[in-house]
Amino acid sequence: MADAAARVLVVDDNKVNRLLLSRNVQMQGHRAELAENGRAALDMLRRELFDLLLLDIEMPEMDGFAVLEQLKADPQLRDLPVIVTSSLEGLENIVRCIGLGAEDYLHKPVNAVLLKARIGASLEKKRLRDQQKELVRRFATSEVAQDLQRSGFALGGKRVHASVMFSDIRGFTALVESQSPEDTIELLNTYYTLMFDAISGHGGVVNQMVGDGLMALFGAPLPLEGCADSAVAAALEMIELIEQFNLERAGTKKPSIRVGIGIATGDVVAGYTGTQQRATYTCIGDTVNLAARLEEHTKVAGRAILIDVETKRALGDRVRAETLGAVPLKGKSAAVEIFAVDIGRPA
């Protein structure tokens, strides 16, 4: 893959340099685009995708140092590899470029063999970095991915105030037995798409999916003002979306599905658990356990959304919820006061 054609932007105010560098790039099987100064280059970089930047330093309008500074400050362009090609003398200039994030510094006139090696190495590094980012993106939420990029990976957690949601499909096992595995996968994919949409639409983050169940966080990894309101609003939208989904399913004579949702609010410890090799972003604490128990209890209570007293208190009168009194829950020594959110129709 390192040999696949890459898009390289060559920035130099000098025409001979531009032609020569782009010739070198092309002879290596890559495509070269040209810019005459730093400002023009930044415009192009913000408009189009490039794999590598060959950057001159001494330029009118905006010099190479300023370009490096701007790239470093731009989350979209921060990871773009840059090879500086310059005949500026003085070690301090090289040090400054490397300090500003340049991958390498090649003296002009640039040795073609050296340039070829550097381009190859930079593109290979970028490919690996892209691959890694793609993996993180696919297996973690974008919030977690950003948190990872910002603060790096470290096991351990921090205490945050959050609302935790658990949700699953009622009678899923029976449903799985009554239909083909292909139908089940298709059902799950639609279901998850709808649930993700509702949850992330309200600022929540799905951090676990197991079978038909999911766990979502409101308030971690990023703080969320009014996390309880958001969690309950997301839950109501989830129920609404499932209703619409059921109407579609009814049209093709498929059985309808029902979900149960439990929400608890309080302090949780959020962070990465696992080992250095394999870890997951999650939350732990009483609040998490309580949310899971509430979700289980929806079956017993015959209600779609159950919330704890902290969530109820945070909501005030903004959402109608009926008290179900104090209920003994598995793993809880004392009975816990729970509330059923009014979803406007029987669950």
């Binding site: 105010d13 000098n14 025409k15 001979v16 340099n17 032609l19 020569l20 010739r23 070198n24 002879m27 001494e58 009118p60 005949s87 500026l88 003398e89 002009k108 006139p109 073609a112 063999v113």
Partner: protein
């Protein structure tokens, strides 16, 4: 200065890595551009504009070393590193010397180009 006007080894290597035909075109481009750089050097001197002066000298240095025009590169480098002189006449003299060397280098490059 006992350096040759054009260091043949540099020139040949350029041909080998980028192709003789491409180098011919590149020489043409350089000859077109260099006139402007020399004019820019003079006008920056006249305007007392240090940045433009340094940049023009820098461009000449880089390009002439690309083709192996080492003497020319050395003269341009001197101007780049020194910058504007407190005594303008010294710069004017240096630019004149640079132009003489440029003519030699340009003739040599034209010969190589047709040779």
């Amino acid at each position: 200065m006992d350096e040759p006007i054009i260091d043949k080894a540099v020139y040949v290597e350029l041909q080998e890595t980028t192709g003789a035909e491409f180098v011919d075109e590149l020489v043409d481009t350089f000859l077109e551009e260099a006139t402007g750089m020399l004019a820019e050097l003079r006008s920056a001197r006249a305007d007392n504009h240090a940045d433009r002066f340094r940049r023009a000298a820098h461009s000449l240095k880089t390009n002439s070393s690309t083709f192996g025009a080492m003497r020319l590169a050395a003269l341009a480098r001197e101007l780049e590193l020194k910058g504007l002189d407190a005594e303008p006449a010294r710069d004017t003299a240096a630019i004149a010397a640079l132009e003489v060397e440029y003519k030699r280098a340009a003739d040599a490059l034209k010969d190589l180009r047709h040779g």
